[in-house]
């Protein structure tokens, strides 16, 4: 066919409620006002309820009056290989577009925000189920003709404008559509909603593409601002890979208990470092992970710690920040605590605590009492504050005794494993990750940890661990942390506890 006119095709991939529809409206309106034939369609329906929603637009880049009465046929579906512009309000949607072949190096400009709105499958995993979105960015750079990919959401948040307005500015800046900047601005004005804010958002998007802002990478970690008198000693005793960990761990444990408790961490870690040296494996190979886990474990989450975190001075600012309170606004805070017999038994001396637990187990009741504590009031705060002051009592509690006994057993296993299997030792170092949560979640986590340690690790260490031990342990940990349903873990554990020790027996017999 000799007439090679073809429409400009664009997709907007959004999530329900993100304003993708409004963005599509602005573009349609701009095209109509300029006299370009335009067609837009969408698949909202049930997907509007938080699901992925796509809008598809075709614009003929020749004005209607210049078409001499001929009507172009515009499609309702995007054909892979024909897209000029793909807009994704979130990076996963950009990945989806690429999976479908909508992004091609010869044609497609890809505008995508790298921020994450996690899918339910990602966020419901008991540990870390996040999709590796760096891969999507990598794919975008290779597959798009013009990739415009950065954290647009952070930009719009900083300026208090909406994402779709900034995206409109970025579309304008990409130059894919045959409109001057003011055509877009007029479309926003005609739509008549939040005009000033959206025009501001448009300009922010426009400038972000034309003069990309030098972006400082967002700091994900909140490092401690305090130090500890033990740090100089730690720097001397510990190898370099452990210094950063010590700088966090020591103040944390001083805060949790006191200097002598922090010193205990240092002693335990030093001990592990010595074992690592003896085994002649690189410094930090095992202890890098172990020292971290040890610090987290030693600052376990009992009532005292929770009360301490919730009554700290810095929390107030963190909280205001988290909920976006503006200066001058008053905030009222309610805490939801529901301690029961298990939590109180934890706080008693070991024998009494154990008796209370046994009694509750017989009665089949945990007697949890739901508390709503207004921690912004003096009385509510005092409750938390006084609980947090109970640290002096902590070393006398059942929980303290239990945690530290388990820690010692873990350290012993770790040292033992380091002498004959570095890979196994690394896996043992990771095992405390299973112990997380509160209440029933914690009970189940600790239960899984204990079963792995007693049913699998202990028999191995009593003899020579099989070659597959590290892989088996890794599989068990990953299963426990990737699936809240315990049945698969139970099956795997039964298999691991049976098979490897069997092969071990055989190996011993030979």
């Amino acid at each position: 066919m000799n007439d090679d006119l073809r429409p400009i095709c664009l997709i907007i991939g959004a999530l329900g409620g993100e304003g993708g529809g409004v963005l599509a409206d602005w573009i349609t309106e701009a095209a109509t006002a300029e006299g370009y034939p335009v067609q837009r369609t969408s698949v909202p329906g049930v997907a509007q309820r938080t699901g992925a929603t796509t809008y598809y637009i075709e614009i003929v880049p020749t004005k209607r009056q210049e078409l001499n009465g001929r009507d172009p046929v515009l499609a309702l579906f995007p054909n892979p290989g024909t897209l000029d512009l793909v807009v994704a309000t979130e990076i996963l949607e950009a990945g989806r577009a690429m999976e479908r072949g909508f992004v091609t190096p010869d044609r497609t400009t890809l505008i995508a925000s790298t921020h994450r709105i996690f899918a339910i499958a990602e966020k419901s995993v008991p540990a870390d189920g996040r999709y590796d979105s760096d891969r999507i960015v990598e794919a975008a750079k290779e597959l798009a003709r013009q990739p415009i990919v950065f954290d647009i959401a952070a930009l719009t948040r900083r300026h208090g404008v909406s994402l779709n307005a900034a995206l409109l500015g970025m579309i304008a800046a990409s130059g894919v559509l045959p409109f001057e900047d003011d055509v877009y601005r007029d479309a926003v004005r005609r739509a008549g909603k939040a005009v000033e804010a959206n025009l501001k958002g448009f300009d922010i998007g426009l400038n972000a593409v034309r003069e990309p802002p030098s972006e400082a990478p967002a700091l994900e970690k909140r490092h401690t601002s305090t130090t500890s008198s033990l740090i100089p000693q730690a720097m001397k005793q510990l190898p370099a890979p452990l210094h950063a960990i010590a700088a966090e761990a020591l103040p944390r444990l001083t805060r949790f208990q006191n200097d002598s408790y922090a010193r205990r961490w240092l002693a335990r870690t030093t001990d592990l470092v010595a074992a690592e040296k003896t085994a002649d494996i690189g410094a930090g190979t095992v202890t890098g992970e172990a020292a971290k886990q040890l610090a987290v474990w030693m600052s376990f989450e009992d009532i005292i710690r929770v009360a301490d975190v919730k009554s700290r001075g810095a929390r107030y600012d963190l909280m205001r920040d988290e909920i976006g309170a503006q200066p001058g606004q008053v905030i009222r805070v309610t805490e939801f605590l529901k301690p029961g017999i298990p939590e109180w038994a934890d706080m008693l001396p070991p024998t009494m605590g154990a008796r209370l637990r046994a009694w509750a187990a017989r009665r089949g009741k945990t007697m949890n009492v739901g508390l709503h504590i207004r921690s912004d009031t003096v009385l509510g705060f005092l409750m938390l504050y006084l609980l947090a002051r109970l640290r002096w009592w902590r070393p006398r509690t059942l929980r303290f005794a239990e945690e530290n006994a388990d820690i010692d057993a873990w350290l012993a296993a770790l040292k033992h494993a380091m002498t004959n299997d570095m890979h196994l030792a690394r896996e043992i170092a990771e095992l405390p990750r299973l112990r997380k949560g509160y209440g029933e979640t914690r009970t189940r986590g600790v239960g899984k940890y204990t079963r792995v340690m007693t049913d699998v690790v202990a028999p191995w260490l009593a003899g020579t661990p099989p070659d597959s031990s590290a892989a088996t342990l890794k599989a068990l940990r990953q299963q426990a942390l990737s699936d809240a349903d315990d049945s698969k873990f139970d099956a795997l554990l039964a298999k691991s506890a049976g098979a490897p020790s069997g092969s071990f027996d055989k190996a011993a017999a030979e």
Partner: protein
Amino acid sequence: MAERSFKKEVEALRLGDGETFHGEGILAVTKALLQSGVSYVGGYQGAPVSHMMDVLEDAQPILDDLGVHYEGNASEAAAAAMLGASINYPMRGAVTWKSTVGTNVASDALSNLASAGVKGGAMIVLGEDYGDGASIIQERTHAFAMKSQMWLLDPRPNLPTIVNMVEKGFELSEASSTPVMLELRIRACHVYGSFPTRDNVSPAISSKNLLEESDFNFDRICLPPSTYIQERLKVDVRMPAAIDYIRDQKLNETFDGDLGDLGIIMQGGMYNSVMRSLNQLGLADAFGNSRIPLYVLNVTYPLIPDEVSAFCADKRAVLVVEEGQPDYIEQALHAVLRRADLNTKLYGKDVLPMAGEYTGEVMLRGIAKFAETVGHATAAFDDVGKTVAQLDRTKNRAREILGQAVPARPPGFCVGCPERPVFTAMKLAKKELGEFHVASDIGCHTFSTLAPFNIGNTVLGYGLSLASSTAVSPNFGKRVVSVMGDGGLWHNGLTSGVAEAVFNKSDGVLIVMDNGYTSATGAQHIPSSRAADREGDQDRVSIEDTLRGFGVTWVRTVRTYSIDKVLDTLKEAFASKEKGLKVIVAAGECMLAVQRRLRPTNRDKIARGERVVQPRFGVDDDVCTGDHSCIRLSGCPSLTIKPNPDPLRDDPVAHVDNGCVGCGVCGEVAHAAVLCPSFYKAEIVHNPTLLDRMLSGVRRAVIGTLQGGGGQPSAPTPAE
């Protein structure tokens, strides 16, 4: 007012001769109905034609001006029955619903309507919910057209053709005394385009021009021998009349091409996709000039045999593009060719898939396969393979870099949804009571079958959950729970479920979600809708009173957000010695509706300097250990995760984002499930009063002193 207001858009319905309409497909159809002089319109909401109901409701003043009666019907059956007005009287009328589910519900009335035949044009506008984004079982309306002898229009998906087919459809209906169905796929319903308008036509019979005499004709009643006469009429009179009209008015279209030994026959709705793929393969330009001749069926039932054989006569191979299964059209075309003794080879479901939506990619591959299979003496098809190979390379490369499939993003309960906590309670109940059978229903609550709840064993249809439990109940070791929305209850659940259960003394548990609207379809009103949201209308039928009126004695109404209470009530229903149906009315207004009212009000108040307290939830990230059990019990979109700020921990922690509306479920979940102490509720007081500020000042001072004077090392501060 429904979820979306069309108050502004409906003004386009007033356009007259020589003006141009710009807007969505479904609004264009409404305009076409008014241009056709309908006396009455109605229907039942459901994507993708929900907006048509919203448009009609918002267009009430315009309809009143013309004397057109609008009825929001109680179900599709009621809507179809309303078309009965056109049996006796020369009134044009149209109704709309989602197909095929709505057509299933309507089919009793439709059979009778089609058998009796119509004097006035009767049209059913169907949103064919098939393919990407569909929320129902995948079937075709085509079967209904064939079995009841109704004509099925499937226009090319551009506004001028759609509008033309509405207008011609009424004429076809009257010329053949048969109701017609206008089928619009999802994307056609939502397509934004333009068409030249005509003046609206005031109906000859209307509320302004009343009928005086009733028309009695036993021939139109469904009793023998009339039914036999009606069947003969269908075959001997109506079908031939329809075929003549379709042929004479050229409702189907033929487009020539230079590759005259080939052809493509397609449903009208497929036309634009076929053209785009031909264009991409170098076989057509952007203006619809195709090298392969085309025969476009804007009417897919009945076929016009002489048109078909004329198109196929000089062709060696013809491709049939027919979306969905079974391949009714392809089979019928085979029969036509056989009868005409033509040897043209038909391709169709052998190069295109039998099932599933014909998306751009599917169409491209199908047409390419056809081209490669039949080949051509010219070089026309030489580059076809290259386009497909290029597509394969791009997709494979993307997959290679991505490494694993991008996670799906299924729909789910909205932020602050009142239905979600009911399923949290149910998940907790299952922990305590063991697994039990749950009969689910149609509505937002069907999302309970998805993660993180995965609750619901069956879905049998709208309002049918209780009915679907009747044979499980007596054969299951525990009481069976049925979940039904208020929409489903009024649609038919009250009779097919509640009345039947009371009559048969069934022993089960029914949870009715009383959120005040048919929320899944866009918050249309139902008899139990909250009066506050309906202008000038103060009556509201109480669900609890209705149930008691039906003879249910065990009824408990609970606020859904009180998870503890819902859980206790559920356990009570399981433990109760009382036999018979036990109904829990789970009350909580649709949060979208609440927010639609609240947001602007609060915004205005804040702007005026008035005191407004806005609650929302937060998580102490130092307390959260990142096990996400809260998420597995909630699934709220605003309850999400963020990178762990603790330098010694890796797993992401729970986080409540700015979408939070402060519904309270996070706190309730933390309590009911004895989860963890990480959650807090923060109430932001906008424009605090002097008292607020003083009280807060004193509190901050006392607390600050305690925090500062504790002799503690100062706590970590935020990095920024």
